[in-house]
Assembly symmetry: D2
Homo-oligomer: 363 residues x 4
Amino acid sequence: MMREKLSVSVIGATGIVGQNYIKLLRNHPWFQVTDVAASSRSEGKSYAEAVRNKWQMSVNIPENIKNLIVREAHDIDSIDPQIKFVFSAINLPSKEDVKELELNYARKGIPVISNNSAHRWTPDVPMIIPEINPEHINVIPIQQKNRGFSKGFVAVKPNCSIQSYMAPIYSLQKAGYKVDKMIVSTLQAVSGAGYPGVSSLDMIDNIVPFIGGEEEKSEMEPLKILGTVGEKGIINDDSIKISSTCTRVPVTDGHTACVNIKFQEKIPSKDEIIDIWRSFRAIPQELSLPYAPEQPIIYLENENRPQPKKDRDNDKGMAVTVGRLRKDQVFDYKFVALSHNTIRGAAGGAILNAELLLKKGFI
Amino acid sequence: MMREKLSVSVIGATGIVGQNYIKLLRNHPWFQVTDVAASSRSEGKSYAEAVRNKWQMSVNIPENIKNLIVREAHDIDSIDPQIKFVFSAINLPSKEDVKELELNYARKGIPVISNNSAHRWTPDVPMIIPEINPEHINVIPIQQKNRGFSKGFVAVKPNCSIQSYMAPIYSLQKAGYKVDKMIVSTLQAVSGAGYPGVSSLDMIDNIVPFIGGEEEKSEMEPLKILGTVGEKGIINDDSIKISSTCTRVPVTDGHTACVNIKFQEKIPSKDEIIDIWRSFRAIPQELSLPYAPEQPIIYLENENRPQPKKDRDNDKGMAVTVGRLRKDQVFDYKFVALSHNTIRGAAGGAILNAELLLKKGFI
Amino acid sequence: MMREKLSVSVIGATGIVGQNYIKLLRNHPWFQVTDVAASSRSEGKSYAEAVRNKWQMSVNIPENIKNLIVREAHDIDSIDPQIKFVFSAINLPSKEDVKELELNYARKGIPVISNNSAHRWTPDVPMIIPEINPEHINVIPIQQKNRGFSKGFVAVKPNCSIQSYMAPIYSLQKAGYKVDKMIVSTLQAVSGAGYPGVSSLDMIDNIVPFIGGEEEKSEMEPLKILGTVGEKGIINDDSIKISSTCTRVPVTDGHTACVNIKFQEKIPSKDEIIDIWRSFRAIPQELSLPYAPEQPIIYLENENRPQPKKDRDNDKGMAVTVGRLRKDQVFDYKFVALSHNTIRGAAGGAILNAELLLKKGFI
Amino acid sequence: MMREKLSVSVIGATGIVGQNYIKLLRNHPWFQVTDVAASSRSEGKSYAEAVRNKWQMSVNIPENIKNLIVREAHDIDSIDPQIKFVFSAINLPSKEDVKELELNYARKGIPVISNNSAHRWTPDVPMIIPEINPEHINVIPIQQKNRGFSKGFVAVKPNCSIQSYMAPIYSLQKAGYKVDKMIVSTLQAVSGAGYPGVSSLDMIDNIVPFIGGEEEKSEMEPLKILGTVGEKGIINDDSIKISSTCTRVPVTDGHTACVNIKFQEKIPSKDEIIDIWRSFRAIPQELSLPYAPEQPIIYLENENRPQPKKDRDNDKGMAVTVGRLRKDQVFDYKFVALSHNTIRGAAGGAILNAELLLKKGFI
């Protein structure tokens, strides 16, 4: 489709989300990483040297990345002018600093697609799952106008913990079955905490029933995602009530969610639900975006699925896998859902956002 | 208190629950295991030989048990007449066979205290958690009359998966705060499935979101436990509605439950709940039963507790540990609860039942 | 290269090695699985039904395999005459029965390439690692003559536990540095024991320092592999002495070996050794066999490598990864080596054998 | 035996070794912790507050420790004069700083018993395993004279990785069977690295075949331990040659070692070795020191033992458990040995040292 690949930068490239970008983009048909940035500790080193004992991916560092010299992420002036946009996997002690840094790239004319949670509640910043709220990109002109940006902007993706059930819920809502209430318990993988992240002493023969800030994100972010574009920014949809308990379990990758749902009025049959899920397609599929899963929601009949080890990699880690749909004697239905937290829930989800933004002319 | 210890038998003594009885009873002040029974495969072997490579306990086989010759469990006639009662940890392919076997011991005049689920729904068999429904032992005379037993009877304990939240829920009900609805997701330890039980291939870097029959037990058994003694047997209390999702996680011992609750009318404050839990005492504590925990419900303030590895052994594995009580925007409150599945949830719970029955004159 | 793919059968297709064959052969350029066989328990069922809850692979069952009807492995008469050869992943209680079954296929004119250990010590059956002793296939005509077979024969691959260090050792010997003594300790993955195999109770927070029969195999099989083709069969080379300790660790796939070696006379420098390893190429590479790794031995400089999770999949699981080569103050050198036990050490290794045998005209 | 317990201090009390001291000393018959010290970060806080989310022990913080106010470890002047000696679990970036800090306590007249490796190679500091080289305490007067100390001194214990095989080896040497060479591979628990220590991403479905500095310690420390007291300090015994490979495995506690040994001349029979091990007793047993295991070396016949989960706690974590003794076709014998790394290998071993020093009049 394209003559030449677009040059992109990964900032926060040495952390685990950054490494995932490097891995996932190594054969991307449209994008090529030609710039990596991190903290001053890595500045001036080759990428291979900077991540030396921290490289966690199951593939080797791509040859064309190994020798890229790491830029200090705040040093925007020295960025190669060929860079078309930035994937932000940056992590700073202060969220305010992240906000400012990302806005500075945007101000410089460089679009930023971010994993960081800093801008998720900035009203004129879209928080996108491309199968659910692709139209939220229309808040970008508002953002640019608000802030006097020319072609730069900031767009973000939501938290990894909600990815496994958002598409299943949204597809039901779209089919006319409005969800009223949800109670969710998640069993989350350790890669979500970065590297070194969770201590092995906490994860051998143990679970930890708490992840700082995660439940709040899980309960709030869906409201923005399901919202609409207003004049000044996104207007939340608070018609759905969510309660979430988030736990950490000894799993490398793949967040599992046990979900109980109650509908507002109309209640679909079990077969209808499975049919809605299996036939769900959206903009990324219609546009045949390279990172889009063919089938965003896979439903498995086996009663002991989905399982992280067996299902997280479905459709290159971008599909959500669902199982165990059954009647619930307290609410209406319950089911178990799974998604790959560092692919669909982080780098892969952001790449899909970038593909959407490119196709829609924002990049 | 006692001159001499009572002789007791463990049937199904070679399995993992049976091993736990052997371990927990090794220094019991009232009971002494002098008879062990298992399947015909072990018949005639010394206990040490019979469990050889299957012994899973962290303590060695007690010296006075090692050389006991294993009896075939169906061979009731050859049981030592000194045996005062039987702990049943038996597991047979057919639940009907378990029922019959346990009734045969009772018919012979030998009380049976069982871990097996076979008789849990027999109306004239009490299913007891001594802190909650000790008065259910009053169904035993009905059972004996119904079946023409003299001093034998069958009493059972409920499933391990509900133990972590039953005492917390019951203590609130007893304090006047009736619970209307509960949604529970459990993260259950592998020892609950016996040995060899769950394959390591399913538990390394994985969770399995299904345990056969477990959710049904979790949703039904509380109704009997919270019921009352009627003329013909236990009458269930179905005023509380429970929905349960049970998952298996890579933890040796200790079932964790994420619980959301909605009260019927009156809603206690957070401080009241914690106070009710911490001050909860019941018959086993009043009678100072040897296996009773001093404090049945321990509430921890630390936001990342309870954890299986750190909290399962609280008060010799008999206390329930609770944490993370917080407001729930869908129901009223949510919390996390933990109990040791092979101690409180199996052998230890049954020992406490035996102590209660002895003190109350049924043994 | 080929017009049409050859039809092949997998016997023992429902076990974990069998599943690996199904997975690895799903896109093979030369071979296509068109027949699956197992025990009578699975006979007559579709493959999907037969493996239902036992399917352990990270990819789904290939569509063209799902509906194959499982044949009983002993029912050789009803095998499709189009089948060109058989991959044996069969496991029977008696090794003698395995021997006979495999010979019966051969007698029928169907070559058998086996993972089972039954025929490893049959003198006229070659035990092949294609990079090391490809010339051992020349014992096949002897086997056929001995036994009156026309085109059928049995060929086997060695145990998974030795695969990580055999190529490193052989490449040094080939370069003129004869190894005199080796002391090896292995840390072996649970998939080596099949499914369900090792209990999770033995693998959570634990290691088991024993694998039945494994040390004997590890110490003996290299002698045959390094041997020569004599008139009546393979003549062992017992010039190298090996001592092995085999342990089981909580790892899904990938056997790690800690190896200490002492040379007979000439001792290479560290740089020479690394150079020999990195430049080692053999027949499978020369013939560009589809399953051959480009570089059979990968040496990593990082001091904390190889690691199972990061290195087992190198070059589609067929490369051996080595690291930590350093001077040994007791012997001459020590190093750590890793190979994927169910790919290079089982199904993948056998597929490479089949490719060699086809290219050399034995199939 | 004693009227009153001695007051002792734990410096580095908030780390994992420090926590182990607090746990193990909570019911000690001779010693009572009345002072805790750590870095300036914890200074002035209560102990409970200082370790808040880092407390890793399976027992709760003892009530009499919770409210001790943490002293800054360098602030020696404000130490309570009642303190009789110090357990050092301190960890500083520079080993030189540790050396100086520990010497400063000694100079002040306070004996220091340390887990830190800083002084292990100081010739006039004894490195003691009480069952092996108790007479090395006689280097203390030399140390005091060298440095002008009155009653203060520094004594250390060796690395945790060698504890499992040092007693087995020493007992053989003492019985007249001199060991010439040893090749060892260890599988070490994560608690050896402190908290947070090893990342869970490195320990789920993985092993790491490297522990910085560990192999060097393993190969060198035995030479000092087996040495003799000379005029100026300990004189090493370098008659034994050791080669070690140290790996990290997903186990909480308990280091396992696979050991191959070659004797100098006389070779005992297998039965003799087992008999030597089982009957081995030493000074701590003769003096009935409270922390001494009754039987320092336990030999198990079961072919799949020792295992960390089942054997690490033998005799309160102070016994070494050995198994799998068998002929070695390269050396003379091989076996597997296990010891609890944070009890025998750290805090427990140091407590036993303190008990010895007290009994011998050095404290």
